[in-house]
């Protein structure tokens, strides 16, 4: 069995640590590029959302490298993501590719027994003892937390750095070195080394950069191909950005929600607008908008793929927050046809507007 998984931000580093720790054969799909998207669009139905198409591209590229099993998480909420595995398998089958799907669904929906059954189908490939398997899982969790922490700090302090470009250089290096490192322990060491390096970068806290919160649909804000590298562009312009929806956040949030002890402030803030979960991350989007406003952010950018059902609801709510709390919000809708020039012009104009409001110049 050769396991592969679709890209989602930095999860490939955690995936590498996990499977190397377990000693299971795995294939990391090549980093998503325009070509991946093209392959995905060719084989997907027209109407599905962008994440589906990029994932299909990822699968096909890793099948070509020898993968035969796909590991993805599932959901049973009203959002389309829960049905992905169904149609994706049919699409790959119709292309004549034999491939297995292991879908990690919520245990409360499919039953604990089935859940453990699916997990063990991965774990039984490994010949290690149970203790060592648990250790590998722990290392993977550590890795995803570390890399997300590094990225979060780099993105936020980019506006405060003394020597321009230091954070973006570090971020590029850490990803490169982590993927080249051999073995799980080695990768963790690299991440820890870079965590210290990031902490030691000189920052000037008297600066007042533009601070922007990035909210919206989880896949499109994490995956830099689908949002046309918006965070990198903002970083190079010296804008501080913050987003809460990282893969590590998702892991923590899902685990806490399953145990019903989730006391995240996001849901408390979202309550006045959206009382219940309507699928996807609409509630988180609204809650984030409120939280970012309270933390004194200058503007918000909402990103979601065309036709995303939960985000359409939150897009309807956001203008009210914009008006009531006087915070500019830009909604960007992306799909495979998004033109770069028009997209960047809108982002730049939005930054100009905030500059005007703040009376600063970047």
């Amino acid at each position: 069995m050769n396991i592969t998984f679709p890209h989602l931000g930095n999860t490939y580093i955690a995936g590498k640590v996990l499977f190397e720790g377990l000693g299971v054969e795995y294939t990391i799909p090549p980093i998503s590029t325009k070509k991946t998207l093209e392959i995905g669009c060719l084989h997907s139905p027209d109407d599905v959302c962008l994440p589906f198409k990029i994932m299909i591209g990822n699968y096909i590229e890793s099948i070509e490298k020898g993968a035969d099993t796909v590991l993805i998480t599932g959901s049973c909420g009203p959002c389309r993501f829960g049905e992905y595995c169904e149609l994706q398998k049919k699409v790959l089958m119709s292309l004549g590719r034999q491939i297995n799907f292991i879908v990690i669904d919520e245990p409360s929906k499919i039953g604990i027994k089935e859940f453990l059954n699916r997990l063990s189908s991965v774990a039984k490939e490994s010949k290690l003892s149970t203790y060592k398997k648990a250790k590998a899982l722990n290392m993977a969790l550590k890795a995803i937390n570390l890399i997300d922490e590094i990225e979060k700090e780099c993105r936020f302090y980019a506006g405060y750095e003394k020597n321009k470009g230091e954070f973006s250089k570090l971020l590029k290096e850490v990803k490169k070195e982590a993927i080249e490192a051999k073995g799980a322990e080695e990768t963790l060491k690299v991440l820890e080394k870079y965590k210290e390096k990031v902490d030691r970068v000189e920052i000037d806290l008297f600066k007042t950069p533009i601070k922007i919160g990035i909210i919206g649909e989880i896949y499109t804000i994490i995956d830099s191909l689908s949002n046309l590298y918006i965070e990198d562009i903002l970083m190079n312009l010296g804008v501080s950005t913050k987003r809460t929806l990282y893969p590590s956040w998702w892991v923590k949030n899902t685990a806490l929600s399953a145990l019903k002890i989730n006391k995240s402030p996001i849901y408390k803030e979202a309550k006045q607008y959206l009382k219940m979960c309507i699928g996807g991350h609409a509630q988180e989007c609204v809650g984030e908008a409120m939280l970012n406003y309270k933390m004194g952010f200058d503007g918000l950018i909402q990103i979601f793929p065309v036709g995303c059902m939960p985000e359409i609801v939150s897009k309807a709510i956001l203008p009210d927050i914009e008006k009531k709390y006087n915070i500019p919000i830009l909604s960007l809708v992306v799909d495979e046809m998004t033109g770069e020039a028009g997209y960047y012009t809108r982002v730049e104009a939005f930054l100009d507007l905030i500059e005007g409001r703040k009376k600063v110049c970047i």
Partner: protein, 301 residues
């Protein structure tokens, strides 16, 4: 007090039942007229651009009703089957209407109705707002129950050419959105089946995962059971542009029925009637020719 019922989305199906329920507890109702150009324009003007056509039209109906009644009924329909949802947009519909139309006088009961008890509880919560005693509620609930299947079922005469019309009920029963599709099909002498006049078998075992959308399960089961039993000659799927559920069900069915005649009509606010007419005509020509020649040609060439 006058309650306005927008004649769109699932209200089309349950309009009579809701009206009967409210009349029995002593509330006057006003139902918005069938969708027309004015309502469509109101909806398109006010709604979020990315929403699908039926949601836009619902906004138009609410906007039309806002000055013609005291309070508008915007139900939040969560579940009609256990462990199944309708659509995220249905769950968030009251919020969408409230903030895009900036309207204060709406009432949004949460309807969860996967069995008798939950339906009764949801309706009881709804009637609490009007301070109704238990006796009256019971009578009103019975009225609701007896009217629930009263919406217009399609009667079409028997014919050799049988077509299954798939799609959400609010597309099939709204003659303005679908441009009189059923009438047109009847003129061509086609017998029309819809989800409501057949009893499908359960074919979801063919899928890896049990679907969690009621619409997806219904359409899939209908299509597969009629194709498998050979009761139909073709499928017409009417869908609105940007519908998340249809983007999956169209392809799931297409991958399962193979080369069976299958026409997908995508509809949005810019759809031209002539184009749709041509496609239907061509599809019916194809079905007729297929019935005549398809099985008479030797497969050996």
């Amino acid at each position: 007090m006058i309650i306005g019922i927008p004649n769109a989305l699932l209200n089309i199906k349950y309009r009579d039942a809701i009206q009967e329920f409210l009349h029995t507890i002593g509330i006057t109702t006003v139902v918005s007229p069938k969708t027309n150009k004015e309502i469509l324009d109101l909806g398109v003007l006010n709604c979020v651009d990315e929403a699908c056509l039926p949601v836009k039209i619902f906004h138009g109906h609410v906007e039309y009703l806002r000055d013609r009644c005291d309070i508008v009924l915007v139900p939040r329909i969560m579940k009609l089957h256990k462990n199944e949802f309708i659509c995220p947009k249905f769950c968030g519909l009251p919020e969408m209407v409230k903030y895009t139309l900036d309207i204060k006088n709406i009432i949004c009961p949460t309807i969860t109705a996967y069995n008798e008890k939950t339906l009764k509880d949801s309706l009881y919560d709804f009637s609490k707002t009007f301070r109704v005693d238990k006796e009256k509620f019971k009578k009103a609930y019975n009225g609701f129950k007896s009217n629930i299947y009263k919406y217009n079922k399609i009667n079409s005469s028997r014919s050799n050419l049988r077509v299954l019309l798939l799609g959400h009920p609010y597309l099939i029963y709204d003659d303005f959105i679908n441009m009189g599709l059923i009438k047109k099909l009847n003129q061509y002498g086609v017998e029309v089946f819809t989800e409501d006049n057949i009893e499908p078998y359960d074919y979801t075992y063919r899928l890896i995962k049990k679907p969690f959308w009621t619409f997806l399960r219904n359409t899939y089961n209908c299509a597969i059971s009629l194709v498998e039993t050979g009761k139909i000659d073709g499928i017409i799927y009417i869908s609105s542009f940007g519908c998340g559920i249809d983007s999956f069900s169209i392809d799931l069915i297409k991958k399962d029925v193979g080369s069976f005649p299958y026409l997908v009509l995508k509809i949005d606010e810019h759809t031209g009637e002539a184009g749709v007419d041509t496609r239907i005509e061509a599809f019916i020509d194809l079905l007729k020719r297929r019935a005549k020649y398809e099985y008479n040609i030797s497969s050996l060439g």
